[in-house]
Amino acid sequence: MHGLINRAIQAFAVSTYGAERWRDVMDLAGLGFTEFEAMLIYPDDQSNTMLAAMEQVLERPLPEILEDMGTFLVSNPQVEALRRLLRFGGVNYVEFLHSLDDLPDRARLAVADLHLPALELVEHSPGQFDLICQPGLPGYAYVMMGVLRAMGDDYGDLVILDHRGTQEGAEVISITLVETDFAEGRAFDLGAHSL
């Protein structure tokens, strides 16, 4: 699994539960190190061992932890760069949802060896969508749940999400857009990035 993903999990755990709990996780995982490097690639089993250890140390079901992590990725100032990159996807939430089909390609544009599973948005009726997450990254759909929820807040829209389980090997998230402009979203300034 790419170091960026491992590093993101680490950043989430340290910022939410503290550096000590993270050390406990890595001690239990017994990988022989405590810090992941963002720009290195780690064998999948190392990441899986770390996730299993995290579930045990934090005493919470992994899906819940991963969903929180998805929210963290969008809303924490530490990872503002990622939120900005997601906001480039569209000027409103629906456009953003449609841009998710391109997410793996966009990720690869930024980091050539970062492979994310394919995402497919199916629009059933206005405001009613299914997001189909192809397999390849365990727990990916739960992280996406957190991301989708937080991006809803970011755009100021009210959305209801439901993990519908697995269909033909792919995980399905149903998305209902209840109200646009429900609340004041966060500003997105194209040129805010310091050059």
Binding site: A81, R84, L85, V91, R106, L190, G191, H193, L195
Partner: protein, 346 residues
Amino acid sequence: MMHIHELTSIADQLCPMHAMVDASGRLVSVGPTLKKLRPDLNWEGKRFFRVFDMARPRWVRSMDDLLQTAGAKLHLQFRDSPQTSLKGVLVPLPQGKGALINLSFGISVLEAVRDYDLTSADFSPTDLTIEMLYLVEAKSAAMEASRQLNLRLQGAKIAAEEQAFTDTLTGLKNRRAMDHILERLIGSGTDFALMHVDLDFFKEVNDSLGHAAGDAVLQNVAKVMVECTRQTDTVARVGGDEFVMLFEGVKEPKVLEALATRLIARLEEPIPYGGRLCKVSASAGTTMSVWNTHPFEAAEILHQADLALYAAKRAGRSRHCFYEQGMQKDEQQAGALADVVQMQKR
């Protein structure tokens, strides 16, 4: 025939940074994004060349010149500040009615987006600007992560090198580091002196009081050596109780003689350890680079210091000798000395 206003509304959609000029070179209308760059400017009726300065091609001075450029790439910039540079292309309108000039930011888009507070809506949906901005940010973020990794690796490398060149017990430089520095001094032709120091009676301390006491003695010796030398000198532990010191730029034997005397006196001060006193002394032999003619080898100069040290031992220890030509380790004498040393150490 399409009316000019119909053309303008199409152009507003497809190229929001266009400018329409009449045959006399006056602006007829401009696209919404271009307008946003100078919101207070009254565009209509203004001369195109009053607003924009043509950078290339340079020969374009009049409306007639401008029409000649049809289809070619234009480089221009605003006359007033911020003088954002723009790229453009001109298409003449039919029947000599003027021209449509489409503009874009080119590479200045990063500053422009910030300076003019542009949003996605200011660019045509087919325009790749948003993708480019995305890519710039994504690459910057990825580059920053790489830079952080490089910094950490660099730090780890320095620490590893430090470790590889340090004697962990005493914190002095080790043999490797000394070899390195010696090679550098010889290679650069710098004058220096080399002093080889060997502890006397160290084995007794080790044997009677144990290794921990021996270690304490070595640490104290290292401390004394550092205190007796300058920051720029090199003090290295090259063997169990053997040390080499390099003095860069020292050419005066009497300076070294004084230093050796002071060093030996300090090393002879008893060191308390575990309620007991450890007593050692030291012998030293010194040679100088100026006594050799270039080119010479590190091994030669180390050997000279070794011979001088040997002479100091033979002369009764706890003393310092300079290397003299003709000094040698007589095999027989060496054997005899080794016996004496062995007996004393017992």
